[in-house]
């Protein structure tokens, strides 16, 4: 049986792992490779590196860190952030990334997904979606450019429609980033994720809101997602990945131990 995946996400800036509050005041946490290696050894099933250098600047940035990760890590990893073209995607894949994740550029030009799929195969094309609950219309909608507070804007897409569109264009996996309306680390938005699961035929990764081990159990058991992504609970040592996986196994969730 296919195991449910636990996916730590690391923010990368100029080749270092950083953390910040609401995309500001980034402080360096450490070198990428030892941190990635530690997560892999602790039982992470996959890693996502969110390159926050990339989206804000157009200048040429050193991406050799991708190959340094690929040399040492024996689990799959995905590179997200600032990929707007076939060539930028090719560079990451050639350096050894298994997948690339696209968010805002796909909203600007949805045909980018189809072109990437034609070139590299759908298995390595991940679409990130930042979804929010719009109380005025009682619906879920998609935001663009969430990496930069000043640039963030609403789009015309309802989340369900965008999820259908990106599948039609040929993506291989969807990361749905959405927070429980109760706030940060109050759990994944089970209601929304369940609704998206019903219309999502490709693997679905839940992102946003993880605070406790029970939140992971709930999102797997109730929303039936394929993977759960989290950052701060792992970086801050609130949850140990091995403990989490044993807990999930005890709760009858299929995991790789």
């Amino acid at each position: 049986m296919l195991a449910k995946r636990i996916v730590p996400c690391l923010d990368v800036k100029e080749g270092k792992v950083v953390k910040g509050v609401q995309f500001r005041n980034h402080e360096i946490v450490g070198d990428i490779v030892p941190l990635a290696q530690r997560y892999a050894e602790e039982g992470a099933d996959e890693l996502v590196f969110y390159d926050i250098t990339a989206s804000a600047h157009d200048r040429v940035i050193d991406k050799s860190w991708v190959s340094r990760v690929a040399e040492r890590i024996d689990i799959p990893f995905c590179v997200a952030g600032g990929i707007r073209s076939i060539e930028q995607a090719r560079e990451k894949l050639a350096f050894g990334a298994d997948k690339i994740s696209i968010n805002s550029p796909a909203l600007t030009d949805p045909s980018l997904i189809a072109r990437l799929q034609d070139e590299f195969g759908r298995q390595c094309i991940v679409i990130g979606i930042d979804s929010y609950y719009d109380a005025a219309t009682d619906s879920y909608k998609v935001k663009q450019f969430t990496g930069d507070e000043a640039a963030t804007k609403d789009t015309q897409w309802y989340t369900q429609d965008w999820v259908s569109e990106v599948q039609k264009q040929g993506c291989g996996e969807i990361v749905l980033n959405v927070m429980n309306q109760d706030g940060v680390r109050q759990g994944y938005d089970i209601k929304q994720l369940s609704m998206i699961r019903a219309i999502c035929d490709v693997p679905l990764i839940a992102s946003g809101g993880a605070g406790t081990m029970a939140h992971f159990k709930d999102v797997f058991a109730e929303a039936n997602v394929d993977a759960a992504l989290a950052a701060s609970v792992f970086h801050k040592g609130i949850i140990d990945i091995q403990d989490l996986k044993r807990y999930l196994k005890d709760n009858h969730i299929a995991v790789r131990l």
């Binding site: 049986m1 296919l2 195991a3 995946r5 290696q37 892999a40 050894e41 099933d45 996959e46 190959s67 690929a70 040399e71 040492r72 024996d74 689990i75 799959p76 090719r90 894949l93 050639a94 350096f95 050894g96 298994d98 590299f120 195969g121 759908r122 298995q123 390595c124 291989g172 996996e173 999502c200 035929d201 490709v202 693997p203 679905l204 394929d226 993977a227 790789r256």
Partner: protein, 236 residues
């Protein structure tokens, strides 16, 4: 991770050639093999499309990511189709590299017909019937391996990393099975040719063990295997 609890002390003999298919996961496969080698052994590792180097290698790896038509076109344009078919030493096809060992693939890409493959192993690639489960089949799944030497030290139920939408059916050539909806071939083999549908280079210790098993194979390993004996009869 880097401490692989296998017969790591055994020296890797002879040249290992990873065929340069121009595909995207070449470096991942190379890195995984390098992690299992000493500095000295790495001097005998090549990523190449040179016909003489491939023919004379002790063992050959055929990687592959992308679509079957694109990968077969790459092999054709490099003049490698007959070269690969004639190899007598151990050959390991990974993911699409496994699929290319078969007769044909229904993954057509932009073509209007099924894609002819290398026709080394008499089975055909078709879309995985996931019975409603998400596709691609992506993530860690368990395999049921046979006693084929590539699985030496790999226990039943080991998790390995899969990413694919097409599969080889269960056949006489199946040497490991997995289930995602239907049960399919996680690995196939015939004589000196071995194909793994999953990615050993991304499958943590279990994958490293299989790669190490392969690196320990030589031209002699399959020299005595009875030709045309389906492996399932011989090994299961």
């Amino acid at each position: 991770m880097s401490q692989i609890a296998t017969n790591a002390e055994q020296t890797i003999v002879g040249n290992t050639v990873i065929i340069d298919t121009g595909c995207a996961n070449l470096s991942s496969v190379r890195y995984a093999v390098e992690r299992l080698m000493t500095e000295l052994e790495r001097e005998s590792l090549f990523v190449s499309d040179d016909i003489d180097l491939i023919k004379s290698a002790e063992r050959v790896i055929l990687p592959g990511v992308g679509t079957a038509p694109a990968a077969m076109n790459a092999l054709k344009s490099k003049g490698l189709v007959d070269v690969i078919k004639s190899l007598q030493q151990p050959v390991l096809g990974v993911c699409l590299g496994m699929q290319m060992l078969t007769r044909s693939s229904k993954e057509r890409g932009a073509q209007s017909q099924d894609c002819p493959c290398l026709d080394i192993i008499a089975t055909e690639i078709e879309q995985l019937d996931s019975k409603g489960l998400p596709l691609p089949h992506m993530g860690w799944n368990q395999i049921t391996p046979s006693k084929h030497p590539i699985f030496d030290g790999v226990s039943a139920g080991s998790y390995v990393y899969f990413v694919h939408s097409y599969r080889a059916p269960i056949s006489d050539y199946t040497i490991a099975s997995a289930q995602h909806g239907e049960t399919f071939s996680a690995a196939i083999a015939k004589d000196n040719f071995i194909g793994l549908q999953f990615h050993p280079e991304k499958s943590s210790q279990a994958g490293a063990r299989m790669l190490k098993n392969f690196l320990n194979m030589t031209k002699e390993t399959f020299a005595n295997s009875a030709a045309n004996t389906p492996l399932t009869e011989a090994l299961l």
